[in-house]
């Protein structure tokens, strides 16, 4: 799931204090699960901002709202009028949501990010999130026993480990496991260690962000959508 963490309150206050009417706009899917930007956190942030404004003697009206997801236009529709009555939207959705709403409002009003979106992660225990995938667009997990070297090895080596492995930990920090130490152990257990003996050729990174912004287009659905629009247009429904 997408994991994020709320921006430090002082940073948010610096962003918000110049405005008159602010809407803290929560998203109730991924960022709610990680207790960063859901409807509940939006409400809490709103209350904190109101009290900070009162303390600083700043005249600021702050309200909060939340919808299921900030990455689908239809969810925004019910609140579009309400949103337009504010002069700033502080979106606590992930970065996708902030972009999507900013595009939707087309510059009519600013949309600021309330949280720092960080990574796709797992939740080994309540309140603890670890990065396990970097969205590189060309998965190699079948070669490394299900442990991703691109994201979990600081140097994204395909022929690790490097010389910096220290007691199974990475040179970057002794709390970070060395991915290749884990990969070797895992492949041993799986009985396929010799797969690691071949030298992996240089990767094609273009499938990731290095290849420029990406999009996925499912033709069988888009064709259906176009057809829908054509019928609607001909019947003059729209």
């Amino acid at each position: 799931m997408i994991v994020g963490q709320q921006k430090p309150f002082d940073e948010i206050w610096e962003m918000v204090k110049g405005f008159k009417k602010v809407l803290v706009y929560g998203c109730n899917t991924c960022v709610a699960i990680c207790h960063a930007g859901g409807g509940k956190e939006a409400e809490i942030l709103t209350s904190l901002l109101r009290m900070k404004a009162a303390q600083e003697g700043v005249d600021l009206q702050v309200d909060h709202a939340a919808i299921e997801r900030h990455c689908e236009p239809e969810f925004f529709e019910p609140l579009d009028e309400k949103v337009r009555t504010y002069d700033l939207v502080l979106s606590t959705a992930c970065g996708v949501g902030v972009n999507f709403l900013a595009d939707r409002l087309g510059g009519s009003m600013p949309v600021y990010p309330g949280i720092n979106t960080t990574f796709y992660g797992g939740v080994p225990e309540a309140g603890f999130f670890v990065e396990l995938c970097g969205g590189c667009g060309n998965c190699v997990l079948h070669l490394t026993g299900g442990i991703c070297p691109i994201v979990r090895c600081s140097k994204s080596l395909m022929n690790g480990p490097c010389g910096g492995t220290n007691n199974g930990k990475c040179e970057v920090s002794n709390e970070t496991d060395c991915a290749w130490f884990l990969i070797v152990e895992r492949m041993k257990k799986l009985g396929t260690l010799e797969k690691l003996y071949e030298v992996q050729p240089p990767r094609d990174w273009s499938t990731g962000t290095h290849g420029g912004p990406r999009r996925v287009s499912l033709e069988h659905i888009r064709a259906y959508e176009e057809q829908e629009e054509k019928n609607a247009a001909t019947e003059g429904r729209r």
């Binding site: 109730n28 709610a32 699960i33 859901g38 409807g39 509940k40 009162a54 939740v123 309540a126």
Partner: protein
């Protein structure tokens, strides 16, 4: 169990004595369908435990634990409490007893009196309070203690000015003060005749009156107090409000001495038995005193520190290390008061033989138990046999049965013991009675007929507010009319009035009347604390056809008028705020249905030892099918290697007939050589798959996984055939082995116990050693037995055997944990070197046989079984019960119980008692077709839930689960309504009934709105 003729069996039980043991039995029986009559000599139930301040080993306060049970017993539909009552005669036999009870006059009408206490204020006659052990005072019209149940006042005829005036003219102030007209000076008391199926004796014991021991000066020197007096001194509701001070000059004592075994373990005008609890309560009192006042220096004078119970040794170690309590092994011979100062001079011999006189500011005598003065007559009335000390005569194999069929015993009247064992016997005796009267269960209980519930959905809130005076308790500080006016115009409030006593019977009828007349759909009563009166008022509005959860109680007495006496204006403003908060919450209340869930009336018992079999037989006799799951190929458990009890009874015989009874019983299915693979479901609806694939449906589970013997590695065990354990010695003796003349047996105690990492007493090894020593000496007095011990812990009535062993010539040599005995072997001769404190030099003993008293360990399967049922274990690996004192056989999650060595090391009779307790507790659940689920639980809205599992991980009761559709669901039956899930849920999908977020926010707004001029 002999099957009694069907004829006239009664579905009711008489319980003589309202202490914690009697109360536990009463609640278990009443909850499982039996009418209970409780006869109590004092004006209130509670017994000895209510006098205590804190309890060992956890330090919980006694009142907080026992008062909920007293309130529940006081209000229980099927428990009638007859106070100031005594049984005069008993006829008939098991199943149908006719009992005559004499009730002394109370001079206060229980139906009218609301316990408001106005009469007490006005009564001029001050008297020494027995409850406060004559340290405090009470009035002639009094309640035994503030939280008394029933809290009806009583007049002490011997002290009342009016009652001592033949023509009743003098004083009569209480009659004038009582607005309820409850005082009745011509009360004559009355006679009752009860027909009951069974009788349970739990009269408790008296405390030894130490004044008889003039050399200790109780009653002569003011600063010598008994331990029960010190409990009252420590208690926050005691005479000194919990401030530790000396009776003579109220000075804060610095050096305080406790003297152990006062009146116990001593034939010279005292009692020969050990009272079992004094070592531990002295340790507790010294710790609690130190907590009250950190410059107190406690010293305990003792012979042996008997900390044999669960976590007791750890408690004593904490006393020594954290509270630096000084343990002085010496008996004080005399106490003199230093003239003028009130300090006390204690004379004793130090360990190295010097005679010492030490000055102390205060002395506490740890007095033991002894039967009531009328014990002999008491036993005659009930026709039961007693032992020579007038305790009820019982056998270790049936510790709760008296000599007379149908009459049972529980608590310290059966023998000195502490609160958890008493509670266990309470539930145990309930189990036995349920077994005996199984077929008449439910025949005599009262079921309340309730009118149909009015449907209020969709209606605008019409709240009725009743502001109570509580006599003068509230109205003397809070201006009731001002409150009524302030609330009148609150939105949603349809009707406001005030009442003198909201909880009195007439006012209850008035409330019901008003609900109908004013067509109210919500009720707020502003009076006392919901903790004691919420259930009462909920029942009342339910009787008026209103859903009982459409009610809120604003506490303006305990949390307003009583604690702001004299500040009327501010207290009234606060009371208005409190009532407005309740109204705000009430406005948002919705009717709640409490679902019920079916119960499969069968029980699964894991472990086929004595505990498992005893519980199985008792449950089967109650009519419930039982499945015993035994890992080994045959039943028996650890007891297979035990031959004799301390008092010489044949254990193998007992085991054989117990196994026979289990195998023959039609309701019991024994699964041997098999384990539990998996258990699903919740209380009343468990489904278990065994490793052999068979499936069992049942409503309750008893964990009786038992224990194993510690296999010693020290003292050359295993390296020479002459070093054996007590078990092996017992086996050779049982097989007729006769000890040779002049042969010397050296025994070493506490092998594998009372030392890190096993800092606990295994409780049975002292008894094993003494029994074997007596057997050797009786077979051949010329054989020598030397027991090298740390503390001989033959507690309770076992003390006699310790004396018998000494009389037979067994030599006892004490050792200390930091100077343990050294064992060497030269050739075939075993040499034991140990330091003798008495002779103050090292002893070197040659031993033909070295016998090790090895301790106990939890059974290895405890870990696996514990994990499977999500029950925690204490650091020593024994199962952790729900509450050390009051729920010793329950687990936090419902429907799960524990018995036997898996809970903690214990003797055979204690295991049998705990097994019966577990069967009693399980019987309470299995006796219901349906289990009502409380209305105050968390409700889960699946459409809001995103299955983020935060609730799943924090819920202590495991009620959220992942359903078949992969999404999170909520099992309302397991829910205890604590709301931790609601606190963490990011989607606000969980809300606790009657504590919803919108209600709490409404209360917050109401709380602030009533404070004008609040700086925003």
């Amino acid at each position: 169990m002999s099957v009694l003729s069907q004829s006239t069996k009664r579905g009711s039980v008489l319980i003589v004595g309202g202490g914690i043991g009697g109360m536990q039995a009463a609640l278990d029986l009443a909850d499982s369908g039996f009418k209970v009559h409780m006869v109590q000599r004092d004006p209130s139930i509670g017994g000895t435990m209510v006098m205590l301040d804190k309890t060992f080993p956890t330090g919980d306060c006694a009142m907080c634990m026992i008062s909920p049970k007293m309130v529940e017993a006081g209000r229980h539909l099927n428990v009638d409490i007859h106070t100031l009552a005594e049984v005069t005669s008993v006829d008939g036999d098991a199943g149908d007893f006719t009992v005559r009870v004499k009730l002394a006059p109370r001079y206060v009408d229980a139906d009218k009196c609301t316990g408001c206490g106005d009469c007490e204020l006005k009564c001029p006659k001050k008297v020494l309070s027995e409850f406060d052990q004559n340290l405090g005072q009470r009035k002639a019209v009094y309640s035994l203690f503030p939280q008394a149940v029933p809290n009806t006042r009583a007049i002490d005829a011997s002290q009342c000015l009016c009652l001592n005036d033949p023509d009743r003219k003098r004083c009569r102030l209480c009659e004038k003060a009582c607005k309820a007209g409850a005082i009745n000076y011509n009360d004559k008391g009355r006679e009752l005749e009860l027909h009951v199926g069974s009788i349970i004796l739990s009269p408790g014991l008296d405390r030894y009156d130490a004044r008889v021991r003039q050399e200790l000066g109780l009653g002569r020197w003011k600063n010598v107090v008994s331990s029960i007096q010190f409990e009252r001194i420590l208690s926050a509701s005691g005479p000194y409000k919990g401030v530790v001070q000396r009776p003579s000059d109220q000075k804060h004592p610095k050096k305080v001495a406790w003297i152990q075994c006062v009146g116990s373990r001593d034939n010279h005008n005292a009692n020969p038995w050990c009272s079992s609890v004094c070592c531990m309560y002295a340790t507790k009192q010294s710790i609690i005193a130190k907590e009250h006042d950190k410059n107190i220096e406690p010293t305990i004078f003792f012979m042996e520190m008997r900390a044999f119970g669960k976590d007791f040794d750890k408690y004593v170690e904490r006393a020594k290390n954290e509270y630096d309590v000084r343990y002085q092994r010496a008996m004080v011979s005399a106490i003199r008061e230093e003239p003028g100062t009130g300090d006390l001079l204690l004379k004793y011999a130090s360990e190295d033989g010097r005679l010492i006189t030490e000055k102390f500011d205060m002395v506490v005598l740890s007095v033991g138990f002894q039967p009531h003065g009328d014990a002999e007559q008491f036993a005659k009335t009930f026709g039961i046999e007693t032992n020579e000390y007038l305790f009820a005569k019982t056998s270790p194999f049936a510790p709760v049965k008296t000599s007379r069929e149908g009459i049972f015993v529980t608590g310290i009247y059966q023998g000195p013991k502490d609160i958890p064992e008493t509670v266990m016997q309470g539930s145990g005796v309930a189990g036995s009675v349920m077994a005996m009267l199984a077929e008449v269960r439910g025949t005599e209980i009262v079921k309340k007929e309730l009118p149909p519930e009015k449907d209020v959905t969709g209606e605008e809130p019409r709240i009725g507010v009743f502001v109570c005076h509580c006599g003068t308790n509230i109205s003397s500080t809070v201006n009731i009319d001002e409150v009524v006016n302030a609330v009148k115009d609150q939105p949603g409030v349809a009707y406001v009035t005030n009442t003198i006593y909201a909880c009195a019977q007439d006012n209850q009828d008035m409330i019901k009347q008003t609900i109908k007349e004013q067509n109210l759909n919500r009720v707020v009563i502003a009076s006392c604390t919901p903790r004691t009166h919420e259930k009462l008022f909920q029942e009342t509005i339910r009787e008026a056809g209103l859903n009982k959860y459409l009610f809120d109680l604003a506490d303006i007495r305990e949390q307003c008028s009583w604690c702001h006496k004299g500040q009327n204006e501010v207290a009234t403003k606060k009371a208005i705020g409190i009532v407005k908060m309740s109204v705000a919450k009430s406005r948002l209340q919705e009717p709640l249905q409490s679902e019920t869930v079916g119960v499969t009336p069968a029980c699964l018992i894991i472990g086929g030892g004595i505990a498992g079999m005893t519980a199985a037989l008792s449950l089967a006799d109650q009519g419930f099918p039982v499945h015993i799951i035994e890992k080994d190929p045959e039943l028996g458990g650890l007891i297979k290697h035990v031959y004799r009890t301390l008092d010489g009874l044949d254990v193998q015989e007992f085991l054989k007939d117990r196994i026979g009874a289990v195998n023959e019983h039609p309701k019991i299915t024994v699964h041997t050589g098999v384990e539990v693979k998996k258990t699903d479901g919740f209380v009343g609806n468990f489904k278990t798959i065994l490793t052999d694939g068979s499936a069992i449906e049942h409503g309750a589970i008893i964990l009786a996984t038992g224990g194993v013997e510690y296999q010693p590695t020290e003292y050359l065990y295993g390296q020479t055939p002459n070093v054996i354990t007590q078990r092996q010695l017992e086996k050779t003796l049982a097989e007729g082995g006769s000890p040779g003349t002049g042969k010397r047996y050296v025994m070493i105690q506490c092998v594998g116990s009372r030392e890190e990492p096993n800092q606990y007493c295994s409780r049975i090894c002292c008894q094993d050693a003494i029994r074997n020593a007596i057997a050797i000496k009786e077979r051949n007095p010329a054989a020598e037995v030397i027991i090298v011990y740390r503390d001989v812990r033959t507690y309770g009535l076992r003390e006699d055997y310790y004396k018998k062993a000494r009389d037979l010539g067994v030599i006892f040599v004490r050792y200390d944990v930091d100077k343990k005995p050294q064992v060497e072997q030269t050739g075939s001769v075993i040499q034991v070197r140990t330091w003798d404190y008495m002779l103050d030099r090292e002893l070197s003993l040659t031993a033909d046989w070295l016998v090790l008293s090895t301790g106990l360990r939890p059974h290895p399967t405890t870990e696996h079984v514990g994990a499977m049922y999500k029950v925690t274990r204490n650091p020593d690996g024994y199962f952790l019960e729900a509450h050390v004192k009051l729920r010793p056989v329950d687990f936090p999650s419902e429907g799960l119980f524990v018995a036997g060595l898996g809970h903690a090391p214990k003797n055979i009779d204690e295991t049998v008692a705990q097994a019966l307790a577990a069967s009693g507790r399980a019987g309470v659940i299995l006796s219901h077709e349906h289990l009502a689920v409380s209305g105050i639980i968390a409700k889960h809205k699946r459409e809001l839930c995103m299955s983020c599992l935060s609730c799943f991980r924090v819920c202590p009761f495991g009620s959220p689960y992942i359903a078949e559709d992969g999404k999170v669901s909520h099992n309302e039956v397991k829910c205890m309504g604590c709301g931790i899930c609601a606190g963490i849920c990011p989607a606000k999908a969980f809300q606790v009934n009657n504590f919803r977020d919108d209600q709490i926010l409404a209360m917050i707004d109401a709380a602030v709105e009533s404070e004008p001029g609040v700086v925003n």
